[in-house]
């Protein structure tokens, strides 16, 4: 039976990835992975040469746990608590406890391996310079602390999952999950910022860009100050001292055993909580899918009918609806956090925005990035799933389908942009320049939404069973960025080049406005007049 448990874990691990069929996608994925790997390696090497070994070990824990934290939130919602395996396993003679154990082991395995791969340069660097004990500490503690992070998040989400049957529908359940994870992140960030803000003035953390030497020294100072501050934190500081010091003490053994013990306890609790409700929650999932009802509006307009069709596609999966909700609310929420931080003086001390009119521009582009980051416009054809063939077999107008998809993606993004600027206004920052920037951002979002679905239209990934594979885990998302981002980058760069060249805020904003109008008109005309005629 142990062998079978191992097999099932292997099956779950295999579900974490889907090999793309198109060579272009394979290349993009490889480049993306190496890019991430190189970035993290560069950070590791920089910290290694800027700080001492203790600081290097500390930042390694921090970076790997941060990465694992972000990944576990994503995978636990889209895979661990998704019940995608319910239809595969529920009629087989296998106990729910074993299914849950295999699922948890699979996520622990995948995330610790990802974290370990990123640690390879660190271990090599430590091997050159440092003591054997420090190397052993890093090799032991990074995976153990990663596992504890994974299990803590899974435990919290398991508690929500145990109330799954109280949720009226799956969308509500998913939104609650996302909200809770977001709140946990916000609480952690707030506590850290509050603690750091109380004990350390941000002026001391400023970087000096005068020469390379001053930059190196100021960076080294920042790394050292944050580390020293964390060491002073009650409890965490004590644990960290034993973990980063160059010798083995009895406290280190106690801390290590404590972490392993806590992880074991969390593991047992997660398995228990989820096993009890496995059939109940799985059945709810099937029942909710069977009784799904979609509203049909009898409308005359052809465009309205095409748009209605898009709403039906969104309505097929709770995950799609959740993405739509997130796309609408994420930008305003982040705007609130940004503006509160600005008013508290945290941001203004780090990035000195003294020139009038600059804050509006920074804010506008931040809203643009936030609206585009969580936008699902890159995979609208993949979302059609097994019904995609209808687009080709029914006498539907492909241009109208394309534009209704663009329209559907633009509505939540547009609302997000407008609400963010209303919040901006309520904080007392709105002026004519900011209003013009809002119009620019709205046009750029539309442009982005026009360009990002192109690759997905030509290469839809429709053979999915888990809806997260159709949206965020879809490799087409990465390629869609290649289509959409260049225009945003060009416009933002042009704006800052104009400002750097000495143009006033007003002249540069009006110039960018005219450029954006021209780009939007050209892209729109290309699609309406040329693209579909060629096709």
């Amino acid at each position: 039976m142990f062998n079978n448990g191992f097999q099932l874990t292997k099956f779950f691990i295999s579900s974490f990835y889907s090999k793309p069929k198109q060579p272009m996608l394979k290349v993009v994925l490889i480049i993306a992975f190496f890019y991430l790997f190189l970035q993290l390696m560069t950070i590791n090497i920089a910290i290694f040469y800027l700080g001492d070994t203790k600081e290097f070990i500390f930042y390694n824990y921090l970076i790997s746990n941060l990465l694992v934290y972000l990944l576990v939130i994503y995978f636990s919602i889209s895979l661990v608590f998704h019940y995608y395996e319910y239809g595969i396993l529920t009629h087989l003679p296998i106990a729910p406890r074993k299914i849950i154990i295999s699922k948890i082991l699979s996520i622990i395995f995948v995330l610790t391996v990802v974290s370990a791969v990123i640690q390879i340069p660190s271990i090599l660097l430590l091997g050159f310079k440092t003591k054997f004990t420090e190397l052993i500490k890093l090799v032991l503690l990074v995976p153990i602390s990663n596992i504890l992070t994974i299990l803590l998040i899974l435990f919290i989400l398991s508690l929500i999952n145990s109330f799954r049957h109280y949720f009226v529908n799956k969308t509500a359940y998913l939104v609650v999950n996302i909200t809770i994870t977001f709140l946990i992140t916000a609480m952690v960030c707030y506590s850290v910022l509050h603690y750091v803000g109380k004990h350390l003035t941000f002026n001391n953390l400023k970087l000096d860009f005068t020469t390379l030497i001053t930059l190196k020294n100021s960076l080294s100072n920042v790394i050292n100050q944050i580390y020293e501050l964390v060491l002073k934190t009650p409890f965490i500081g004590n644990v960290l001292t034993t973990f980063t010091s160059g010798d083995f003490s009895y406290l280190f053994v106690i801390d290590l055993l404590g972490m392993i013990g806590l992880s074991a306890l969390l593991f047992i609790l997660i398995v228990k909580i989820n096993s009890i409700h496995y059939f109940k929650n799985g059945t709810i999932e099937v029942n909710q899918s069977s009784s799904k009802k979609t509203k049909v509006y009898h409308v005359e307009s052809v465009w309205a009918n095409y748009f209605q069709r898009e709403l039906w596609v969104i309505n097929t999966e709770a995950y799609f609806k959740m993405q739509l909700v997130l796309g609408t609310v994420l930008s305003p929420i982040l705007t609130l956090i940004l503006l509160f931080s600005f008013q508290a003086g945290w941001i203004s001390e780090i990035i000195n925005i003294t020139k009038p009119g600059y804050f509006e521009i920074y804010f506008a582009y931040a809203v643009l990035i936030m609206s585009c980051i969580n936008n699902t416009s890159g995979t609208p054809f993949s979302r059609e799933g097994k019904y995609y063939y209808l687009i080709n077999s029914l006498p539907l107008n492909k241009k109208k389908i394309y534009f209704s998809k663009v329209f559907l993606a633009s509505i939540p993004s547009g609302i997000a942009v407008i609400v963010s600027f209303i919040i901006f206004m309520l904080f007392g920052y709105m002026n004519m320049g900011a209003f013009l920037m809002m119009i620019i951002i709205l046009m750029l979002v539309y442009c982005y939404n026009l360009l990002t679905p192109v690759f997905d239209m030509l290469n839809p990934s429709t053979e999915w069973e888990n809806p997260s594979v159709a949206v965020k885990s879809n490799p087409n998302v990465l390629v869609s960025l290649l289509f959409g981002l260049p225009i945003l980058v060009v416009v933002i760069l042009t704006h800052f080049i104009l400002l750097w060249a000495g143009f006033s805020i007003g002249v540069s904003t009006i110039t960018i406005f005219l450029i954006t109008v021209l780009i939007t008109f050209c892209v729109y005309t290309w699609f309406t007049k040329l693209y579909f005629s060629i096709k």
Partner: protein
């Protein structure tokens, strides 16, 4: 073998099963027929644990339906829509299921793999399989592990003519070895040839469960079915 008593199931305000009563005996090849939406799949899903019925009891070999592995070892289920781990090969999947049923019969597995022309496909990821290949793979699993009863939802969908023939032979062998088959189908002519009993489901109730020879007589199953549907 399989006993269903007063099975009721609804989705929201819509009642699908209105007290299904059915007793399938050992050695039966039961063709479970009914119009679209009559509740065939709901019945099968309720037996196999995918759905929890609102009322009623189900027993297989005297074991009352529950989430226990003991109950689930009494049957193997082939659903109409087959969900799989897409990156896993058919071969790995069969080995896994054989171990779950404590029934490691490699030679028997190889025999059915050859019979269903799946030698090459078994080593490929199941995500690359066609609809018909997935059905063939599940039939191989079912006939290999040889459980007391095989339950199938539209098993002939997507099968090529040779596979249908293999399916008939495999069922014959399985029954000779003491098995029981319970499958839903819309293909009445094939059901007439393969099955020894038939059950008709209408408006969430069994309106007929009889030996096929007694039911058909001089007519065809198609005629009888249409009569029972009052068409």
């Amino acid at each position: 073998m399989l006993k269903i008593t007063n099975l009721k199931k609804g989705y929201g305000s819509k009642q699908i099963l209105n007290g299904v009563e059915l007793h399938v005996k050992k050695g039966e090849i039961l063709g479970f027929v009914g119009s679209n939406g009559a509740g065939k799949t709901t019945t099968l899903n309720s037996i196999t644990g995918i759905l929890e019925p609102d009322e009623g009891t189900i027993t297989i070999n005297g074991i009352i339906k529950s989430g226990s592995t003991k109950y689930k070892k009494q049957f193997f289920f082939i659903p109409d829509t087959i969900h799989v781990f897409k990156n896993i090969s058919g071969f790995d999947w069969i080995r896994f299921v054989m171990k779950l049923y404590d029934n490691d019969q490699t030679e028997r597995m190889k025999h059915f793999i050859t019979q269903f022309d799946m030698e090459e496909a078994m080593y490929k990821p199941m995500g690359t399989y066609s609809y018909g290949m997935l059905h063939k793979m599940m039939l191989i699993v079912g006939f290999t592990i040889n459980p007391p009863i095989i339950i199938m939802d539209e098993p002939l969908n997507g099968l090529d003519p040779k596979s249908v023939l293999t399916f008939k032979k495999a069922i014959k062998l399985y029954i000779e070895e003491g098995g029981t088959v319970f499958f839903s189908t819309h293909l009445l002519d094939i059901a007439e040839k393969i099955c020894n009993t038939v059950a008709i489901l209408k408006d969430g109730k069994i309106i007929l469960h009889e030996e096929i020879d007694k039911v058909v007589g001089e007519n065809t199953l198609e005629t009888i079915f249409m009569e029972k549907q009052n068409v």
